[in-house]
């Protein structure tokens, strides 16, 4: 784990809205984490916890208030000339939540997908451009006849595939998927998740997967970060997080998921999270601390000891 290449480093990132006004919102309040090359990092939390904002700030849709995002050692938010910006945009792409709102209804599918190809001048001729579109459509499980249709002619799952094809068009290395399956039916969710996994294997992609459906997140992610009110409270390998949730908020979140198993539902006990359990004394500093290798929890020195005892091997 230690010697894996860091693709993305996020250092003390802050994103405030309406700064200095009474309705100031601290959407992200100082979070730090790394994303390694080839992995899938899941980000979960309730609505309003800042998980989508994190994704959008990383890809430069927002200008960060403070902190930095380093992509291959280069600051994403630094001043860039057009050429550098283009290069950066090509390597990082996004898949959006709502497949109905994220495709321009007045553009043909071929143009939706090829927009990136055109901007970056990846195709030398019209024929090559179409060839690339056809290949992308086939990669995501659609067929070439679909290229000349408009988005309204497709179902939700198919549209999400078009969204994925569009993201892949510029051959990115890193994809931010912001709730890519939340708007889809159960039977279609599995299709899209399988497709994303397959593409990752074939193309060596790195994903930041933002979601609130915890069972899907566990399935697709290598590591998972849990966010609460703009802070990252726990970060751990996926298996470990479910086996050993240490932060009380993570525990409450996991205990709230209903499982498709009537027997276990009858006995499930829900835990509630009360932020007052921490009550840090003066001088006690709460920050991300490593409980066991790779498993980080936002806690104080005292809590760290307690968590280390709780940890089940």
């Amino acid at each position: 784990m230690e010697n894996r290449e860091k693709l993305l480093e996020i250092k003390n990132l802050k994103q405030y809205f309406n700064i200095g006004q009474p309705n100031e919102v601290r959407a992200i309040d100082g979070i730090s984490f790394d994303i390694f090359k080839g992995e899938t990092l899941g980000l979960v939390g309730e609505s309003g916890c800042g998980k989508s904002t994190t994704g959008r700030t990383i890809i430069r849709l927002y200008d960060a208030t403070d902190g930095e995002v380093l992509y291959k050692g280069e600051n994403v938010h630094g001043k860039k000339n057009k050429k550098d910006l283009k290069k950066f945009n090509r390597s990082m792409q996004m898949i959006f939540q709502d497949p109905y709102a994220s495709l321009n209804p007045r553009m043909k599918v071929s143009d939706v997908i090829a927009e990136g190809i055109d901007i970056h001048g990846l195709a030398k001729s019209k024929q090559e451009r179409m060839e690339m579109v056809y290949n992308l459509l086939e990669t995501v499980g659609l067929n070439r006849e679909h290229a000349n249709r408009y988005p309204h002619e497709f179902s939700g799952g198919q549209r999400q595939r078009i969204g994925i094809a569009r993201a892949l068009a510029v051959q990115p290395e890193f994809i931010i998927a912001d709730e890519p399956i939340s708007a889809l039916d159960v039977s279609i969710q599995a299709q899209v998740v399988n497709l994303m996994k397959k593409l990752q294997r074939e193309k060596g992609l790195t994903y930041l997967f933002i979601a609130h459906d915890l069972s899907m997140v566990k399935y697709i992610s290598d590591r998972i970060g849990v966010m609460y009110f703009g802070k990252l409270v726990e970060l751990a390998p996926a298996e470990d997080l479910y086996k050993n949730p240490l932060h009380p908020y993570t525990q409450s979140l996991l205990s709230a998921i209903p499982l498709p198993d009537p027997e276990s539902e009858r006995t499930r006990r829900r835990k509630t999270y009360d932020p007052n359990v921490h009550l840090y004394a003066d001088g006690e500093e709460a920050k991300m601390r490593e409980v066991t290798p790779g498993h980080f929890v936002y806690c104080s020195e005292k809590e760290l000891k307690q968590y280390q005892q709780q940890y089940v091997k």
């Binding site: 609505s47 198919q158 159960v186 599995a190 979140l253 998921i257 209903p258 027997e263 539902e265």
Partner: protein
């Protein structure tokens, strides 16, 4: 247990520019007193249309109940006049909608909105209705009800708004509560609270609940019985244990296998191939046949009837016909079936 609601051979079509969409094609079910019946299925399977038909909330212009009966209290709801229906809607049968953001009136205080059905249906005085509204807010667990009753919906969070919607729905102690994806728009922790609240209230006032959802986890949590819908029909119905641990229809198998489990790490998720049928031109045979790896020739030609599995468990698949070949269900389903056998 006595049946409080019976839906018999319901057929509903929508008339569109493209032609007639047969949204519901022969739905039969009954709701027993005090039980929770969950209806699951993907979008377009007809679950919302069924419940809207019960509430008579289908758009009057282009929808048509072609055939069938909805029997409640000895009356056929599909034949009532609008005025007769208004007496039932919100009093005997009430509904909770999916989106708490849009189902409340933003220009009225929540107190007024809760009082509305009380004044309309129970001829309460304003003072009595306001007293009862306060009780209801307490009942659904809203803190500081005396203050909250005078507030407007935008001053409430999503979960609190859904509690208000539930308070309105329960105002007249309805016999039937229809909840159409009541927790889909909410976070898991809030969802858990709302589900606990609904179960708690059901115990207190003994309402029957029809719960529509596509989340099988929620179904396992709330339901006594489950009906699985596909392509405008109910394809499997049974107690929650029967449907989860001894499913018979290949579509139910597909649904169950495509859920990742929290304790096991699968290599590849099972995905039902293809897309749901277009009900503008419903297939001649079993609507699921084109996506069904177990489909036989007859599935393409003739619609399967409901085969009986047990007194409470029925499924519409030709696989249950005595002449059908024995097939192996997917691994995820088989491990569930073993659990069912073990419990017996």
């Amino acid at each position: 247990m006595e049946n409080i609601l019976e839906v018999k051979d319901l057929n509903i079509s929508f008339h569109t520019f493209a032609g007639e969409v047969q949204a519901i094609r022969g739905v039969n079910f009954e709701l027993k007193k005090g039980e929770t019946l969950a209806i699951v299925g993907e979008s377009g399977s007809g679950k919302s249309v069924t419940t809207k038909a019960i509430m008579r909330l289908l758009p009057p212009g282009n929808s048509e109940i072609k055939q069938g009966q909805i029997l409640f209290d000895g009356k056929d709801l599909s034949k009532l006049t609008d005025r007769q229906m208004q007496k039932i809607r919100g009093k005997d049968i009430s509904m909770i909608f999916q989106d708490p953001m849009t189902s409340l009136n933003p220009t009225m205080t929540v107190g007024k909105q809760i009082m509305e059905p009380l004044i309309k249906h129970q001829n309460m005085s304003k003072a009595a209705a306001s007293e009862r509204a306060l009780q209801l807010l307490k009942l659904v667990g809203i803190p500081k009800p005396e203050l909250r009753i005078k507030q407007y919906p935008h001053q409430f969070s999503g979960g609190m708004r859904q509690r208000v919607v539930i308070a309105i729905a329960l105002a007249c102690n309805p016999k039937i509560l229809i909840a159409d994806e009541p927790t889909t728009a909410l976070d898991v922790t809030i969802q858990a609270q709302i589900l606990e609240l609904m179960k708690d209230l059901q115990n207190k006032i003994d309402t029957s609940i029809i719960f529509i959802t596509h989340d099988l986890g929620v179904v396992a949590n709330v339901a006594d019985r489950v009906a699985v819908m596909y392509g405008g029909k109910i394809v499997e119905v049974g107690t929650v244990d029967e449907v989860f641990y001894n499913p018979q229809h290949p579509y139910t198998w597909g649904l169950i296998s495509s859920m990742p489990s929290l304790d096991a790490k699968e290599e590849e998720l099972y995905a039902i191939p293809g897309t749901p049928p277009n009900l503008l031109h419903p297939p001649k045979g079993d609507a699921f046949a084109p996506r069904n790896e177990y489909a036989m020739q007859i599935d393409l030609e003739e619609q399967p009837p409901m085969f009986k599995v047990s007194d409470t468990h029925y499924a519409a698949t030709w696989l249950l016909h005595p002449d059908a070949p024995k097939v192996e269900p997917p691994a995820a389903v088989k491990s569930r079936m073993r659990k069912f056998m073990g419990a017996k």
